[in-house]
């Protein structure tokens, strides 16, 4: 494997040719915020939270491969504002009530909002009318909280070898659809990876909410990104 080098915010990073900037940064201990990107799922650059500047042009770090000698900007006020605006828009576009959401403390959207210091969204809430599908005996889908990241769609296909989820519609009408009349009519199992990968409270196992006490939840002790770049997420 041929190795190349480039810089992120002036720090020289070694990477494998063909690797994404996001993966190379992770390996180098530099956190680039992300939302739709997830471990081994094929990145598709849909949320744009991982936007960085590569030689002056904004690119999604999850899909942009490393370039020898590239100058990557990550932790800059301009990019932080872009990312913060995206998080802000995701909040107002759905119905996210963190105060009683069972994913609170585990939610990546909430954790990013904390990381970016978003106390109250600056955009107007849209309060869309969305459904909750409780038909499945062990899992439910709350479309109010879906951010259309696509993780479940891809995980169902590539990790579970199923096709439980798909997107329908375009633009503001885009939404998650299950492959059947309801979730109960699909072949989804509670153990499917598709259920585990949801970054928010949209796809959730039933009857386990709040079993983890406040203080012991994933993001109670350390902010999101702290596992990659410790000590940089506190505001």
């Amino acid at each position: 494997m041929s190795r190349i080098s480039f810089t992120i915010d002036g720090v020289t990073v070694q990477a494998i040719k063909g690797q994404s900037i996001l993966k190379a940064a992770d390996a180098a201990g530099i956190y680039i915020p992300r939302l739709c990107a997830y471990r081994d799922l094929v990145p598709h650059g849909s949320c744009r939270v991982c936007s960085v500047k590569v030689n002056g042009r904004i690119q999604a770090a999850c899909v942009q491969t490393v370039i020898e000698g590239a100058v990557v900007e990550n932790n800059t006020p301009e990019l932080e504002e872009y990312r913060s605006n995206i998080i802000d828009m995701l909040f107002v576009e759905g119905n996210h009530f963190c105060m009683f959401c069972e994913k609170s403390g585990f939610c990546e959207l909430q954790a990013l909002a904390y990381r970016f210091g978003i106390a109250v969204p600056k955009y107007q809430f849209l309060y869309p009318k969305r459904e909750i599908d409780m038909s499945h005996p062990h899992v439910y889908v709350d479309h109010n909280r879906c951010i259309l990241c696509g993780r479940c769609v891809q995980a169902s296909q590539s990790m579970d070898s199923k096709n439980v989820f798909q997107f329908i519609g375009r633009g503001i009408r885009k939404r998650l659809q299950v492959n059947g009349d309801s979730l109960a009519k699909t072949d989804l199992k509670v153990t499917d990876e598709a259920v585990s990968v949801c970054p928010v409270g949209a796809l959730v196992r039933k009857r386990v909410g709040y079993e983890t006490p406040v203080g012991l939840r994933r993001y109670d002790e350390a902010p999101i990104g702290d596992d990659i770049e410790p000590g940089k997420g506190d505001r």
């Binding site: 009683f100 069972e102 009857r207 909410g209 709040y210 406040v214």
Partner: protein
Amino acid sequence: MAAKGTKYTILPLTRVEGHGKVTVHLNDSGVVDRARLHIVEFRGFERFILGRPFWEIPVAVQRLCGICPVSHHLAAAKAMDRIVGGEQLTPTAEKIRRLMHYGQMLQSHALHFFHLSAPDFLFGTEGTAESGFAAPVEQRNIINLAAKYPDLAVQGVMMRKYGQEVVKATAGKKIHGTGAIPGGVNKNLSIQDRDELLKSIDQMMIWSRGAVDIARDYTKEHFDELAPFGSFESNHLSLVRESDGALDLYDGVLRAVDKDRNMILVDVNVQRYLEVLMEEVRPWSYMKFPFLKDLGPEYGWYRVGPLARMNTASFIDTEEACAAHKEFRELQQGANNITMCYHWARMIEVLHSVEKIRDLLNDPDLQGKDLLSSGPRREEAVAIVEAPRGTLLHHYRVDRNDMVTMCNLIVSTTSNNEPMNRAVTKVAKDHLSGRKDIPEKFLNYIEVAIRAYDPCLSCATHALGSMPLSVEVYDAGGALVDRRVRGSGPNET
């Protein structure tokens, strides 16, 4: 100016939770005909939790209030215990929940007594009840209390803080925690938290005894003024312990007594509440008016809260509060119907709560690891707890897909709706009849009478806000003649 066929409206009310206004209706002779406490906020929780997963409800409904969220948290959790068939909690789970509840009772009562009500008692000239209630508004506030009675103000702060620390240790947060889950709790009490809380428990006992003394002495010393103030004969309702009728703030059966302390509702299982209770809707208030079904709306209304609990409970199962309860009972034959005795009763409950906290902290069950129970699934459940302000009822239906399909909440301030209206009417009749103007102190009197109930109007109608008060005067034809407004907000009606 009082005119023929006149109605006065008072807003805003201060040092109570939520928005409300009072109207006083005079007859053609200038005598008070009736007075009404209007709740001008809107209730919505029962509607917007429909369609949500049942395990979400104990966390969601506590957002009704920031003062006693634990009450809603526990009432909903108890209902959901029944939904999952886990109402027979493990010893650790029940004791953790009780500890949480006593912590909340302590913090809520301490806040009310030391910071909201104490200014009414302490700032008179030479200490008569009349002068205390009538002291200028700029004196009757927490800032002045802290300046003139710093030790008392600090006690209030520290007792409230202690109660909140108990809640945090059991629920994870001081406000809006997640400790109680369907069938049990999500954590036990750590040794570290236990030891930290034990450090201050002796001081809490000392201050609690002192608080009972203050309330008792004040009541006895000013008895002639306090006894008739906003007082009236009524029924009283609360939970009592099923086995022996003892005061039980967390669980039990429904008991009601009449003005003479004759039992009129004999230890009814809470699942049967619809057989014994009804709610009436009146067009001028967003709050309903509950009453005992057998007696009807005219005679079946009742009081809840500390005063009611002192009247319904056969005894208190902690030593010092039990003695205080006996002394309280000796004040009156039959039931105690004195509105201002709510304060004394409230402090007896503080003492009881601190005794309970002390006993629980020394109970090794709190470090147990068996936290959850379950059993046959149900689709409907009722649960009741005694919240700081009184009996709190939650009733839910949950479908087979785990979704809430029906919710009814009867909160304590709703039960005290008719009593507060009676108290306001009594004060108005005693202090406004025959006058041609609204004296400034009358605004104070109205507030003092309402405040005795420690109402949470935001909770009762399920919205949030601070509480402003105005008085409006209407003639017999319904036209606004005069208005007095007081409070920090604008002079809107």
